[in-house]
């Protein structure tokens, strides 16, 4: 059974048709990434799933519940999900530990506070006021607040914006650990390498519709597309596209009598494929 099931989702703001018929199915335990340019309907879709916005048409089920429902049922549902929003910047007059501790009180089965502080790497900063944290540390606090309720489903919106490369790697490891623990994750991100590193499946949304859903390796026919072989021949860098790169490299190798100078074999990156897809959709 799907954890999230969306059929024919539509939402307009006046004359702007932000979401024009989105279908999605997300399975328990997977990291699913939603990719798309600004204004593609990404945020609207996710906010409808999070229960922040109402829809105009279609059906939505998240953990078997319609996010549009209000009242006590909705509290029980929110008890099972975690949300890490973009740009939250609370007034920083509380310490990291006080804040996480406070939020843990909202849930019926919170995770251990010290464990969460540890897992987001804020042990040394646990008694610091939030106002004194760096951008990356604040973001990790956001994640801590998203996971403190031991959610079955976690929404992550642009989680690593403003991270340095090292912090981003550490963050990825944290997300992978969450998946290992059984958390389903819906990730929206601008970073294609992030989607590639984390997501089991990605969906590309543009102009309010889903263009394709696939694994990162197979998106846009990436796995079967031509490889580019590049090498140095004297002073010149040469390259050639090939359906059979292995045979081509063997041929090169015999030509050079062993090592091929500065050999690179590459396939289009997820970013290349993605840009082509959304560029194509613009026409």
């Amino acid at each position: 059974m799907s954890l999230i099931e969306v059929k024919g989702l539509k939402k307009s703001y006046g004359d702007v048709h932000a979401v024009r018929g989105v279908d999605l199915e997300i399975a328990p335990g997977e990291i699913f990434s939603l990719l798309g340019p600004n204004g593609a309907g990404k945020t609207t879709t996710v906010e409808i799933l999070e229960g922040f916005r109402t829809r105009d048409a279609g059906s939505v089920s998240v953990l078997g519940f319609d996010p549009q429902t209000r009242g006590h049922e909705s509290r029980i549902w929110r008890n099972r999900i975690g949300i890490v929003l973009q740009n939250s910047a609370d007034a920083g007059d509380l310490t990291v530990l006080e804040t996480i501790n406070h939020f843990s009180g909202y849930y019926s089965n919170p995770r251990n506070v010290e464990e969460v502080v540890h897992s987001v790497g804020l042990i040394e900063k646990q008694d610091a006021l939030i106002r004194n944290l760096s951008g990356g540390q604040r973001r990790r606090l956001d994640v801590a607040l998203g996971i403190i309720g031991s959610p079955e489903l976690l929404f992550l919106d642009e989680p690593t914006t403003g991270f340095d490369p090292e912090a981003r790697r550490a963050f990825w490891a944290l997300i992978q650990q969450l998946r290992t623990d059984g958390t389903t994750i819906l990730l929206t991100t601008h970073y294609l390498d992030e989607a590639e590193a984390l997501a089991d499946r990605v969906a590309v949304i543009n102009k309010g519709v889903i263009i394709e859903v696939s694994t990162p390796a197979e998106l846009g026919g990436r796995a079967t597309s031509q490889a580019t072989v590049q090498w140095r021949d004297g002073d010149a860098i040469k390259s050639e596209k090939s359906d059979n790169p292995t045979a081509f490299v063997a041929h090169l190798s015999s030509t050079f009598g062993g090592e091929v100078p500065e050999l690179i074999v590459s396939r289009p990156s997820l970013e290349d494929i993605y840009l082509e897809m959304i560029g194509g959709a613009h026409e």
């Binding site: 509290r75 029980i76 007059d93």
Partner: protein, 264 residues
Amino acid sequence: MNKIPSALQLGIRRGTLEIKQFMRQRESVVFTLLFPVILLAIFGSVFKDTIAPGVTFSQYFVAGMIASGLVNTGFQALAIMIPVERDFGTLKRLRGTPMPASSYFIGKTILVLVSTVIQILLLLGFGLLFFGLNLPSDPAKWFTFAWLVVLGSACSTALGIAFSIVPKSGRGASAVVSPIVIILQFFSGVFFVFTQLPSWMQQVAAIFPLKWLTQGMRSVFLPDTFAGQEVAKSWETEKTLVILLVWLAIGIFFSVRKFKWDRA
């Protein structure tokens, strides 16, 4: 699976947190808690006359300051603070948790009540020490005082939460809210003797709760003989109760129906 905590439990939890946050913001502590005392010091030193036999201006002024303190710590503080929390994303984050809206409102109510009580104690203490303030000895007056504080601050809290949807941004909130409060203070007889104001001002003031709170506080702190010098020649206690209840209902209605968690 444990049960999710009740709205009241979470409300008390929020209240504790709100007070902790409030106490850590020095500007807000000084401004909200000490400002009325500073005003009392200034007005008490400038106006030394008696306005009726045995009634000093300080005595009259303390009644007005306690009433307007209820408006400052509730209406004014919340109508400025909540749009800031909305801008920061604090409210949206809370909306995404199982904490219900009612807990958030209970938390704010606790914050207002606690800061109001501290403010009143400071004013009374300061008035007693330096401005010869007379405290009432009749228990009935203290009873009136108690319900005026509780109802007044409930009313002020509800209206502050309701009004928080008006300012478009956190940064502009103070510019929208503060003038309203200051004008009401002038119109409602906080800074001047109410009966000396032009009658149109008195009539405008009579629509709003602050006028009734100041009059109610005068009924507590001034001798009953002074009632004859009010506009209606009486303290109008029942009317005050009714008008405050009506405003409380209006505040609660708009808070529950129109509250915005998100800027968008």
